[in-house]
């Protein structure tokens, strides 16, 4: 069986899997752990607000105990933060609790749609990069913001395909295409991917990785769905690496022109 030939490199780390997983919304931590395993993921994100950061091993906030640090890079996220100050504070707290200094920077002031605040995300990224964090910012699919964050020194950019939990797929495809075209750091499509086919589509476009949570967590069988996403991501990556035929849009334009030449010949 073929497997993608190129590994994913983020900051100073190399990963074989291009599927990142979120840990929210699962029916139980045990199901979540089984889905992580089936997905083949190597990078797992968890909300710091749901974890016990006091070091007291709170049995009622034990989500991190289900994410084996030997197998997965724990990518703590700042979900719940409404502004840069709050996100920075959470990141520092995670670092001082002994978690890896990798942060998925998420700042969404509107709790209903969870859309990222570009201004606060930019401000927080500046501070966290300066403090030595490896920063993976969750952003709207804004190509200019992506470049600005790259210039600040973030390790990736993570544009959304559609609002979190919407399962709508790549609604922001045109902007993501530009982001991929311009990026000098890995592009991870985050949020909105509702089916393995949509993950494959993002990978075919040249996204370096995708992050999936809701579609796996709320599936009737999350473990099998995690396998399906793993295969979708691998298929999409293989297709990208092997060179897809030209897009239909480009192929159509020639006929009226040649017809003209035939008429005038």
């Amino acid at each position: 069986m073929y497997s993608p030939s190129q590994d994913l490199r983020i900051a100073d780390r190399v990963f074989h899997s291009r599927l990142l997983l979120g840990t929210g919304k699962f029916a139980s931590n045990h199901v979540m752990a089984a889905a992580l395993e089936a997905s083949g993921t190597e990078i797992v994100t968890a909300a710091l607000r749901r974890a016990d950061l006091s070091g007291n091993k709170d049995p009622y906030a034990n989500i991190l105990e289900f994410i084996d640090p030997k197998r997965y890079l724990l990518l703590a996220n700042t979900s719940g933060a409404m502004n840069a100050e709050e996100a920075v504070r959470l990141a520092r707290l995670a670092a001082s609790a002994g978690l890896p200094k990798w942060i998925k920077l998420e700042i969404h002031p509107n709790p209903h749609h969870l859309l990222p605040d570009p201004i606060e995300t930019f401000r927080a990224a500046e501070i966290l990069v300066r403090e030595g964090f490896t920063v993976l910012p969750y952003i709207n699919a804004d190509p200019v913001l992506a470049k600005r964050l790259e210039e600040v020194g973030t390790a990736t950019v993570m544009p959304l395909g559609a609002p979190i939990g919407s399962n709508q797929g790549l609604r922001t495809k045109d902007q993501i295409r530009i982001i991929i075209e311009q990026a000098q750091v890995p592009v991870v499509v985050d949020a909105g991917l509702g089916a393995p086919s949509q993950a494959a589509e993002a990978m075919e476009m040249g996204a370096d990785a995708v992050l999936v949570n809701t579609a796996i967590a709320v599936a009737n069988d999350p473990v099998t769905m995690a396998t399906a996403f793993r295969q979708g991501v691998e298929a999409g990556r293989l297709a990208f690496e092997s060179g897809l035929p030209a897009q239909a849009l480009e192929a159509e334009a020639t006929s009226p022109l040649t017809a003209y030449f035939r008429q005038t010949a």
């Binding site: 929210g24 919304k25 699962f26 029916a27 139980s28 931590n29 710091l48 607000r49 749901r50 974890a51 016990d52 950061l53 709170d58 049995p59 009622y60 906030a61 719940g80 933060a81 409404m82 502004n83 709050e86 504070r89 959470l90 707290l93 002031p109 509107n110 709790p111 209903h112 749609h113 939990g165 919407s166 399962n167 809701t214 967590a217 709320v218």
Partner: protein, 397 residues
Amino acid sequence: MRNPLPDCSRVRPGYGDAGNPFAYMTFAERFRDPNRTLSASARSFQRLLEPLPDPGLEALARRAAAITRKHFGRTMRLFAPLYLSNECINNCAYCGFSRDNPILRVTLTVEQVLAEARYLADLGIRNLLLVSGEHPKYVSNGYLASVVAAVREVIPAVSLEVAPMEVEDYRPLVANGAEGLVVYQETYDRAVYQEMHTSGPKRNFDWRLECPERAFAAGFRRLGIGVLFGLGDWRTEAMHLFEHVEFLLRKCWRAQITVSLPRLRPAAGGFHPRTAFSERELVQLVCALRVMLPQVGLVLSTREPGPLRDVLMPLGITMMSAGSCTAPGGYTGQGCESLHLTIRGRAAAATVAHGKAEAQFAIDDDRSPEEVAAALTRLGLEPVWKDWDPALTLANA
């Protein structure tokens, strides 16, 4: 002359209550406007409230459950109320704490509140709703601020359900770590409201109606509103509640809006519901709200019976109380040495030697938090205890 650059620091963090002069009036102003029109969503919501045959209700419930899973996953947030005081200067016909009810009253000291909070924390509770009657002398703003600061040491998420305040009075509570504010309008029918609230500051309908907006201006991140069903016509109340949510979603866009749908329960004073609102209608309302407001939190308390709560768990509810007691000191017997009887608002005698403080209303689902969590697990839902860390807002957390 060139315009000076805008001072962005003034705008952040965005809780400005003055806001855009072209944008919003208060909900009270809008609600008074007889020419206001219903939004398209509100009209759809109205149709979903019409009587439904069984297959229609089943279909609505399936839609609601699917939408809930999509937006909230297979999870349920748990919380418990902690009553601080049953002193009250209002007379509300339906409430056990009404001023004129001859009941045993107490206001817990900060230490006593902390003992209750520790007890709940040991049961797994990581999200607490502090509840109190309205009494400026016993339940002062300074008292509330001290209570919040103390409780936050043992419980990460603290919300308040207390008498409406000014924006400036809310700020110290937010600064001390309170993240949510709950205030039910009780009824959106002004005439019924006046009839139910016969004396005390609560008589001011608009002051209460604008309370969530003041709380937002002060920086609260979760705003809970609700109707007390049994006072007015349930469909009319639900429509007004829907309009209120729609308004808050626009104006208080940074806040998580939650909606509660409490039905009247037996309480001291012996008030009986004036209007009917059946279990079936409650289920329909929960589902209709979920379908039309997919991301809004829906809260269900222990005032409903366990079997009905189990039916509602997967259908749209996102937050449930568990193991609740609705009397101050009810969990651990705190404050029982300083109880006093009041008659028509006046302390009738010196301290009563024994007894229990009166509860606000009788609960129905008396299962422990652990038992409610087990019921959720059986339904394939994960009980979420901790969903908030004080480090988000408090520099010294």
